[in-house]
């Protein structure tokens, strides 16, 4: 029973109730005000923008559904969406597999010094800004400046010019993103592994299960809530990839690395076509919501609920 139901029986309860109401709204009012100005207001404004043509210099003009028509007939958009989904899919697979393998390896280590070294080496890149990471990798993968190409040349192997080759640019960004972000997935997986009760693993071992059987039949199912969470959060992050692309390739060569947020940036903040950029942003919103919803629907099929 809460304090309010107790006091409600006493005289003067109404006054007290009113006071609680006032206090509640008083405490949330700064947050609500900020929410209206910087979240809800702009959200409504963005929807309205999608029906306008506005370059911020001349007065806005109402154009009805023209921006959405443009969205569905834009010849560049299929390539942009393809790039984005390829990146997101590759990102989910590589991060989850590598993150889980690394977490399993570190979790079973005996040597504490190796554990410390591995944890620092895997996690630290995640804390470095994308700006620094992108600039560094631009040189690492450069055929003349970078050590990757230099070692390959010493071995007589001729590597492609990764960031300038339309076939290799997106895979390169995928590798750079893996280097930068796998530490995050690794930590989430490591935390997830701690939720697997060791008694269950021991019980399976006593029953004669091999390491492989234990992994597939005990550890992995019990890890499924963590895997689910990691899948969703990796998808949302990957779908909005922007920083390394804007810094390293600017969407090129030949549009091979233009992802949807890069496209939105070009339309909104380089071409200043605010209405169309808002329509693209709404598309991003709908796709992310849709895919997340699908994942929650599919959740029942593979996520183990204890």
């Amino acid at each position: 029973m809460s304090s309010d139901t107790i006091t409600a029986r006493r005289p003067g309860a109404l006054l007290q109730r009113r006071r609680a109401e006032a206090a509640g709204w008083l405490f949330v009012s700064p947050a609500v005000l900020l929410f209206l100005v910087f979240v809800a207001g702009p959200f409504v404004f963005a929807i309205a923008l999608a029906f306008l043509e506005w370059d911020l210099l001349t007065p806005p003009e109402f154009v009805g559904l023209a921006n959405f028509e443009q969205l569905f007939t834009d010849p560049e958009l299929p390539q942009v969406l393809w790039n984005t989904f390829v990146f997101a899919f590759a990102s989910i697979v590589t991060h989850l597999v590598l993150g889980l393998l690394l977490a399993l390896a570190v979790n079973n280590l005996i040597s504490r010094s190796i554990g410390y070294f591995a944890r620092v080496a895997i996690f630290f890149p995640f804390l470095i800004s994308w700006a620094a990471v992108s600039l560094l990798w631009k040189y690492v993968l450069d055929p003349t400046f970078g050590y990757v190409g230099q070692y390959a040349a010493m071995l007589g192997i001729e590597l492609p010019n990764f960031l300038a080759d339309p076939a290799w640019a997106l895979p390169s960004i995928i590798v750079i993103d893996l280097w930068h972000t796998v530490g995050f997935t690794f930590i989430i997986m490591l935390a997830g592994l701690q939720t697997v009760p060791s008694e269950l693993v021991e019980a399976a071992r006593t029953d004669g299960a091999t390491g492989r059987q234990i992994f597939w039949n005990v550890t992995l199912p019990l890890m499924s809530p963590t895997l689910f969470f990691a899948t969703i959060i990796t998808f949302i992050g990957a779908f909005q990839i922007f920083d390394p692309i804007q810094i390293i390739t600017k969407g090129g060569p030949q549009g091979s690395t233009t992802t949807i947020i890069m496209y939105l940036y070009e339309k909104g903040f380089q071409a200043f076509d605010m209405g169309y950029a808002a329509a693209v942003a709404l598309l991003v919103f709908v796709i992310i919501m849709g895919v997340t919803l699908l994942q929650f629907i599919g959740r029942r099929r593979w996520v183990h609920e204890s």
Binding site: L102, L127, L135, Y147, T181, A278, V284
Partner: protein
């Protein structure tokens, strides 16, 4: 960037402590397979840090000898000159200060408003509170890039473009923090509030003298993540800031490399090193807290 709420149970013990404890408890024999895993992890770790070692080595090498083939992993001939040159190409310390100010104001400001709102949602039964929380939470699905367009137009109208205020003002509202903290406050027994109230304590005393100290680990985790996100942010500064003296470090670094009169590669590397090295020291000193804040909130910036 977008975050989604996840009401994960806070681990009672921190992750690294648990790891080390289990490590000690394990009485595992050294199998050939175990040794192979050791070797693979060490090699993988070396591959992960190789770009960073290479970065620092080049930044300490005399320009004509940097980026030599075969790659050199020692700074020979050695020089500090590249670091001095950074200051000729960018206002490094000004931008460092901007980043620090922006991160401090965004983090502290957002936390204060989040704590106040979380208290109301967790402890005061006021009409409409549930609906309000649901509306605010649904905003977590809205991508940052959608609202940044109208915010940019707003900031232009009020003349705040190219100021740090255009970045920290929108950062003051953080719905994830409000949700996370109100969930955390709910785990603290309400009887404590009742006892304090009988002793004559008001809402503010209960919140700031009791709930906040009891929630210190959660607040610290949110502070670390908030600071990290703001310190490393690129999209916002790219859109709002244009003069070098107003830029934050990430934007300053990128501008250094592709602006007019772009700096030589060694100078760019020296500047990156000046950003990465302090970060490494902070990370090694506060590794436990940083790893724990990521593990407990599962928040990706």
């Amino acid at each position: 960037m977008t975050t989604i709420p996840q009401a994960r149970p806070m681990p009672s013990d921190d992750l690294l402590a648990t790891l080390e404890k289990t490590g000690r408890r394990k009485s595992r024999r050294r199998t050939p397979g175990g040794v192979a895993v050791d070797i693979v992890l060490v090699v993988f770790g070396i591959v992960m840090i190789a770009p960073l070692v290479w970065l620092i080595v080049q930044s300490l090498t005399v320009p004509e000898f940097a980026f030599a083939s075969p790659p050199s992993w020692l700074p020979i001939p050695f020089t500090f000159e590249n670091f001095a040159d950074v200051l000729d190409y960018m206002p490094f310390f000004q931008q460092f200060g901007n980043s620090l100010l922006l991160a401090a104001v965004s983090t502290a400001g957002a936390l204060i408003f989040s704590i106040l709102a979380a208290y109301a949602f967790a402890r005061i039964d006021f009409r409409g509170s549930r609906l309000l929380l649901v509306v605010m939470l649904s905003a977590l699905m809205v991508p940052a890039q959608l609202v940044i367009i109208p915010i940019f137009i707003m900031m232009r109208q009020v003349g705040l473009v190219d100021t740090l205020a255009s970045l920290w003002l929108p950062a003051l509202i953080n719905v994830f923090q409000i949700f996370f903290l109100s969930q955390y406050f709910k785990t603290i027994p309400r009887e404590l509030d009742e006892a304090a109230r009988i002793d004559g304590a008001g809402h503010l005393w209960i919140l700031f003298r009791m709930l906040v100290p009891l929630s210190a680990p959660a607040i610290a985790a949110l502070a670390i993540l908030g600071f990290e996100a703001s310190w490393n942010g690129y999209f916002g500064p790219l859109i709002f800031l244009s003069s070098p003296e107003n830029m934050t470090l990430p934007l300053g670094l990128v501008t250094l490399q592709n602006g007019f009169g772009a700096a030589p590669a060694v100078v760019v590397f020296a500047a990156i090193t000046m950003v990465v090295l302090p970060l490494l020291i902070v990370f090694l000193a506060f590794q436990r807290q940083i790893v724990e804040s990521v593990a407990s909130t599962g928040l990706k910036g």
